[in-house]
Every structure is written in structure tokens, then in C-alpha cells.
Amino acid sequence: MTTMQSTRVKARPSAPSPAPASRRRWRRPKGLGSLPLLLVVGFLILVPAGFVLLAAFSVDIPRPGSINFDLTLKHLAVFTEPGVLKATLNSLIIGVSATLLALLIGGFLAFVTARTNIPMRGFVFLIGLMPLFLPSYVGALAWSILGSPVAGLLNIGMRDLGIDFTVNIYSMGGVVLVMGMFYAPYAFLLMHSSMSLMNPDLEDAAGVHGGSTWQMLRSVTFPLALPAILGSALLVFTHIFENFPVSQVLATPGQIDTLPTFIYRLMNASPSRGNEAAVMAVVLVLVVLLVTLGQRRILARRSYTTVSGKGLKARRISLGRWRWPLFAVALVYLLLSIVLPLAALVLTAVRTSPYMQSFNDLSAPGAIDFGSFGRVLQSDLFLDSAGNSVLVAVVSAALGTVLAFLVGYTVYRTKAKARGALEGVSMVPLAIPAIVLGMGLLWTWLVMPVPLYGTLAVLMIAFIAVQMPQGLRGIASSIQSTERDLEDNAVLHGARRSRAVLSITVPLMRVGIASTFLMLLMLSMRELTVPLFLYTSDTHILSITIFDQFENGGALQQAAAMSVIYCLIMFVLSYLPRRLGSGGMTP
């Protein structure tokens, strides 16, 4: 890693030199170490994004074989379409409130697991993580099974018990709840790694200087986790803003229009209006770039280092009599985000008839049949795609983490010239709705003169590109928490920069790196829209197989069974990174 040898661009200001002052000598341009990295990231991300940009402003869709540069601005007219405004507004409302909810849940769980003596911390950590095992469309479906006003299991249960109350998940509140719950793990993972790097002295100082626990949290703990909070807010918001499945399953039946459904309709119109979808994507990219820039600005002015060379005494805050009540709060989240949805799925998978008037129906003979699980487990298709999925997810998450670390390191630790560009480029995929980006990736890997298309490798590459923002944010927040001096010191003591990074920075950031890996792993397992453009019959992956099952409509029982097994696979898969990330700072 030679990128550390930072750039110096300014000419020497005044000091007179013996040589004629005007003659500028050639200097070895520094910071070139970051150039290969920029090339890699740029190639992975900018080429597909470039296609999207071209699509936004060209007359025809620029797919391979018919790429031309007849440019036009007419696609911008899409913004005047009726309904866009309302859909945008709805999306904003949902986005903002669900993001807040996700941050609240994630922040709460991150704090109690990283910094307090809550009972069964390992288990609470798992609670924070688990909704990641459930793809959001499965979660949304499960919640529609639970909370639809007429046939929702919750409502049936309450009718059985004679309670006169109806849950309606097809409402703004329902959409916000489900989105918030299922995106909370992002916030959780990012904040957890950042908070486990907290130096308790800084918190203690607040207590000593008269800050109550709450004030301490408000003015020290959370502000110090600001890079993680802002980072996850950005991630969560854009995801929610672009999330199609939840909107489709919960918002549309409630007659709530959102931007993603709007884009989906553009793509689904006949003939497909890909150019216009691309225009919307470009606008989103601009917004996200602005937000990223703003975030950079806010963070640049201050420092968030909590791990310093003056020691780090891991100390947990004692919750006192709040231990169990707070644990109960975590359990409620577990119940709503995982237990109920999974129970609904299991029930759906074992019930011979999806129709139910009362829970008493279940006691009827033949009402329950566990066969669907066996059938799923025996099917070749399922086994093949599970194998592919695991392989693709592990490889792309591992490579993605490494790449994100390199980028994060270059951006936050070096003075390389390409820093800003690197960060900006890495955040681009966040802005482009997956459905549009998927097209860009398809075109890219079709025209590339390398025989990757149609292999698992192309899926891996695509995942790495698509998940770059998540990876970068995950790494960035923990890099910002560790003091540079620690690494510099290793260099002084004779380690090469790379060695210093490996033996000092990486171990210090262990929790953050493991969380990032975990997040990418789960995301790769879940990723649906992008592989839909890239998979072939040889490279079936699990998310697509399940999506097909759900798309079939009738096969709900199978689909539910498969989803439950899918969650189990994700759970098992999450074990390794969880192991890596557990444990404190001390050796």
C-alpha cells in the first residue's frame, strides 16, 4: 500500500532558492498509488452508471449493438407526468419517517449491545441482526399475511379473542413500520461497530461534568458515532426511498403511491420506458452525491477519534433496574421483525389451505402438513441455487470488504488527490435504483471483451459494484474512530505501511470490518433485482428462485417454506463474521 505517501501539490510558497525561481522542476507526482484503485472502482461503477446516464439523454436505449449518441432532453418530461409529485411526496414522507424509525431501533440496539450490561448481550446482538436474514419483500409479504385488515393473522387472532381492534398494515404507518424494522439492521451494524470503539473516558468526562446519562448519550456518545449515524441514515434513506417490494406489497393495496412503484411502472410499461427511468435515476444520483458531499462537509470539520493511544478501558454502562425493561423492548422488536413474520411464514408453509377464518381451523384434520419443507429441500433447483448463492455471497462480500477497506483507507487516511473522486464514485450505486443499475451492469458486461457474462463471476462483480456504498460507509465510520497516531507509530517502529495497517489498523477496526463483511454477505444473499438481469440458467441463485416462487402466486406454501429455509441458511452463514466481530478491544 503505497498510497500513504501523500500528495503535495502546492509549489513552495516563498523561500528563495538558488536556482532561478521560475523554473519548476519536474516532481514525482505523488498519490499515484490511489490511481489503480480509482481505476478499479471507476471501472466497476462508472461504466454501468455511464450507460444509465447515456440512457437518460439518448433517443434510444443504448443497449449493446445499438449504442449511439443521439442526445435529447425530452425524457426529462417524465417529471411533469401526473402523479410524480404525489408519489415523490409520499416517498419522502415514508423515507424520512422510516429512516428515523430505523435509526432509533438500530441506535438503541447498538448502544445497549455495545455499551451496556443488558442481559444476554450476544442474543440482543443477534436480535439487531436478524431482520437482515429476511429479504424485505419476504418481510413485507409476511406482514401482509399478519396485518391485512380482513384476513391478517393478527386480526383473526384478535377476533378469536373477541378483541375489537383491527391492525391495518396497508397504511402509511404500516409501510413505515415495516420499512423501518427491516432497514434497522443497517443502522444497527454501522453504529454497533462505531460504538464498540468508544473510549469510555470521553463518556465519563460528561458524567463528571454534570451530564446525566441521557445528556451524555446526546452530547458525547451519539455525536461521536456521527459518521456511523449519518452514514447509515444515508444508506437507509436511499434504500427505503427506492424500495419497491415493500411499496408493492403494502403501499399499493393501501392506495399509497410511491416513487419506486412509479419507476417500476415506467419500466413495465409497454413499450418499456427505460430512458425515462434512467432520467429519474440520474436525478437521484445528483441528490445522493449532494447529500454525500454535505455529509463529508459536516464530518470534515470535526474529529471523531475515540480509540487513542492513551488506552481504552472497555467499560460498560450499568443499566441498573432498566436492564430487564430494556431487554423487553429488544424482545418486542424481535417479536415484530422476526418471530411474527417467521411464524406467519411457517404457518403458511404448513397449512394446506391458506384460507383461515379462525385459529380453530388449524385443529381440523389434515389442516397441517409439513411436507412442503421436505419437498423444497429435495429439489435440485433449490440445492443448486443455494450453493451458488452461498458461493457468490461469500466471495463478493469478502472482496467487497477488501475493496471498501482500500477505498475507505485512501479516502480517510491519505491525502491522495483522488480521495474526493473515489468517495463520490463509490457512493453512486446507492443513488441508482437497482432496476436501472441492473440494466447498466448488463450492458457493461455484455460489451466487455471478457468471457465473464453468464458465469457466477459476473454476479460477484456486479454485487461488489452495487454494494460499494454499504461497504464504504461501514468501513468509513470505524476508520474515523481510530487515531492515526497508532498506525503511524507502527510505521515509525519499522513496519511498512501495509504491515502497519494489517497489524494495527485492521485489528483495531475488527468489529467494523466484521460488521461490514456481515452486512455485505447478507445483502448479497438477498440481492434480487440486479441478478435478475444477469443470472442464467447455469447461475441460478436463491433470491431469484424464491422470487419466482412468490411471483407464481399460487405457490405460496412452497414459497413460504423456501423463505423459512432461506432465513436459516442466512442465519448459519452469519456465524463466521459474527465470531470475528465479537469480543472487545483488549487482547
Binding site: 443497449r63 449493446p64 449493438g65 445499438s66 402523479g83 404525489k86 408519489a87 409479504l141 401482509s144 399475511i145 391485512s148 385488515p149 380482513v150 384476513a151 391478517g152 406489497v249 399499493t252 393495496p253 392506495q255 403511491d257 412503484t261 412509479f262 417500476y264 411502472r265 419500466m267 413495465n268 410499461a269 409497454s270 413499450p271 418499456s272 427505460g274 389451505s353 391458506p354 384460507y355 383461515m356 377464518q357 429439489s379 435440485d380 433447483l381 440494466m439 448488463l442 450492458w443 455484455l446 460489451v447 457474462y453 453468464g454 435478475l532 438481469f533 443470472y535 440458467s537 447455469d538 419466482d548 411471483e551 407464481n552 402466486g553 399460487g554 405457490a555 405460496l556 406454501q557 412452497q558
Partner: protein, 358 residues
């Protein structure tokens, strides 16, 4: 690949959906129930080959078809399935990059098929049954550049656990009964070719007032058929306008849904396929098209809940239901011309009637 081995699909394909043909003769080429599917040369070559199929059709029905094809011909199919619009993007891109691997591409939108033809994704190919096929309207396009494999039927259905006896709706007009208010489900007309076709049919057959009245029933509006079908099965809605084939699949799988074949008409839409340049070199792909358009293939499609495209076949029931033949009065087809000319206005009218923005 597809569900090879002893998957549930292959069981169903062998027996439950439709008994296997009485006679499959492979002594000299492939002859099923007396109809020649392939000559000796093609059949021998095809046995060493496999079909690469891209399809925008429902996954379950394709799985059944694949299993049946394998059972009847012994040839494997490798399926890549995704919704038609995504498939179209994928196919055009792969084709543009000379990387289109599929031998046969099947889509549900005539405009997409037209585009494929225009771009050379489809090449001319005439199956042995071309003579028969040409007798029907809207079956053979551009002299065989692509064909209608069969038609999808769109009608309505109900939750059989919630609705029984004389409550069961029989005609389209029955959907306007006030007792369904708030319990009806529809997929919005802009969501795809099939639903636009349905709206056009309703407008043509019963007029704009009917559509408005339907909108006034405050139905729950869905984005996709699949989500709606689940809602129906669970009884969240009790009556819904539905695609016939997928609903029938759900019914067979045990969902408490029943279909209605209303006498006053059902809406039909296309399921088209064609051979690609890669398929030209693939004997199996050609054999697949031959088989699909053969009596055996068409009957199997009918048994699954499609309307056969090949004219002049004796009717095959779909379980307890009998769909009308393609050329009957009862069957209203939304032709490619209709799609081009009327889609936008139909969707707009529909949106107004249902107070739907988007």
C-alpha cells in the same frame, strides 16, 4: 436447469394435469399420437442437444411444460425466466452483443415480440404443423418469424371458502353487486399487457359505465397478479379479476380459489415464441417449437389453463373448467394493433374510473 428428476412438477406433468399421450413412437424420428414432431435426423441430433429457453411466462407453468416435454421427448430444457419487460431488455442486450444464448424466447407481449422480430432476435422457422397454424388468425407472424404458442385467458375468480352457493358470481355484471364492495381485487390496467387487455375487453364489451361502476366498488388495487392471488387465497379479498392459468395452478396446489368462465366473455392475450439465431443451430430448440405447436403440446397447454393457438383441435378441459376456443365469440383478443393504438387511452380511462394515479 429445469426441474429434472422426480420433482413434484414432473409427477404433475405426467399424470395429474393430463394423462400421457397414448402412443409415442421413436422408431423413426419422433411421432406422438400419430403426429410427426421430428424426422429421424432432427430427433437424433436433438437428443444430443438441449433446449435453452428464455421465458417471460409464469414459472410454474413453464416448469410443468418442461417436465412434460422431457417426459414425451426425453430432451432437457434449460429455463431462464423473468418478467417479460426485464426479459426483453436482457434479450435485446444479449442479442446486440452477440451473446444471446437462448434457442427459443417466449414472451407475453406482442409488441415485444414485434421488436424482437425487427431486431433479428427471431429468425424464420416453420414447424411441420405450419399449414394448420396458418389457418388461424394471429398465430403465425411474418411468415413464421414467430408464432403464438397459446393464449392466456383472463377472467375472474373467488375465494371458495368465503363464497359459496348462490353467492358465486357467474357473469361480469355480478361483480357490480354491492355485496362485493370493498372485497374486490383488481390489478391496475397499466401493470402489463394482460391487464390492459382486460380493461379493453371490459370497455368494448360492457362500456365505460361498467368500468366506472367497477371502480365505484372500491376494489383493492394491486401492482402484480401474484400478490393479488395470494390476497385472494387468504381471503383478504373475496372476488378478483384473475389470470386463468396461474389461478388454476394455485387451485391445483390447494389454494381455496375457484375460477369462473363467464359466458359473456373472457379476455385473451398472447404468449408468443420464436426461434433465435442460436436456435437455428439447435435441433432441440426446433424440436421444442415443433412439439409446442403439435397437438400434444397444445393439449397440454390447454390442460394447464391456456387457450390453444392451433385451430381445429377438439376441446381439452382444464380440470373442471372448459375454456372457449380461440376463435369463439366468447374469447376477446387484444391484438397487437390494439396494443399499439389503444393501450394508452385504455389505461387512462381505467385510471380515471378507478381514481388511480400512476
Amino acid at each position: 436447469g429445469g426441474g429434472s428428476g422426480e420433482s413434484p412438477a414432473s409427477d404433475a406433468a405426467r399424470n395429474e394435469v393430463l394423462p400421457m399421450p397414448a402412443k409415442i413412437d421413436t422408431s423413426n424420428g419422433l411421432v406422438i399420437d400419430g403426429e410427426r414432431i421430428a424426422d429421424k435426423q432432427l430427433f437424433e441430433a436433438a437428443k444430443k442437444d438441449k433446449v435453452v429457453l428464455y421465458s417471460g411466462s409464469g414459472k410454474e407453468s413453464e416448469d410443468l411444460t418442461i417436465a412434460r416435454f422431457k417426459a414425451e421427448t426425453g430432451i432437457d430444457i434449460e429455463l431462464t425466466r423473468m418478467p417479460t419487460n426485464k426479459l426483453s431488455e436482457r434479450v435485446l442486450s444479449e442479442h446486440g452483443a452477440n451473446q444471446l444464448g437462448a434457442g427459443v424466447v417466449r414472451v407475453t407481449d406482442p409488441l415485444v415480440a414485434e421488436e424482437f422480430a425487427k431486431r433479428g432476435v427471431y429468425v424464420n422457422y416453420q414447424p411441420p404443423s405450419i399449414g394448420e397454424l396458418a389457418k388461424g388468425d394471429n398465430v403465425v407472424f411474418n411468415d413464421g418469424q414467430y408464432l403464438t404458442a397459446y393464449y392466456s385467458a383472463y377472467a375472474f375468480g373467488y375465494n371458495s371458502a368465503a363464497v359459496q352457493g348462490k353467492d358465486v358470481p357467474k357473469k361480469w355484471a355480478d361483480l357490480l353487486d354491492p355485496k362485493w364492495k370493498g372485497k374486490l381485487g383488481v390489478v391496475h390496467a397499466g401493470a402489463g399487457g394482460t391487464v390492459t387487455a382486460l380493461a379493453a375487453f371490459q370497455l368494448d364489451a360492457f362500456g365505460e359505465d361498467y368500468v366506472k361502476a367497477l371502480g365505484a366498488q372500491q376494489p383493492r388495487i394491486f401492482d402484480t397478479t401474484s400478490v393479488q392471488l395470494e390476497a385472494l387465497a387468504r381471503g383478504e379479498i373475496t372476488v378478483a379479476t384473475l389470470g386463468f392459468n396461474s389461478t388454476y395452478g394455485a387451485e391445483v396446489a390447494g389454494a381455496p380459489v375457484k375460477l369462473v368462465v363467464p359466458e359473456d366473455g373472457i379476455s385473451g392475450s398472447f404468449n408468443l415464441m420464436g426461434l433465435t439465431p442460436a436456435g437455428e443451430k439447435s435441433p432441440a430448440a426446433k424440436l421444442f417449437i415443433n412439439w409446442t405447436m403439435s397437438k400434444a403440446g397444445q393439449k397440454f397447454a390447454a390442460a394447464q389453463g391456456f387457450v390453444p393457438a392451433r385451430p381445429g383441435l377438439e376441446p381439452t378441459p382444464t380440470g373442471e373448467y372448459q375454456l372457449p376456443p380461440a376463435d369463439s365469440e366468447q374469447f376477446h383478443l387484444f391484438t397487437p394493433e390494439d396494443a399499439k393504438e389503444r393501450s394508452a387511452s385504455t389505461v387512462q380511462t381505467w385510471n380515471q374510473a378507478f381514481h388511480f394515479t400512476g
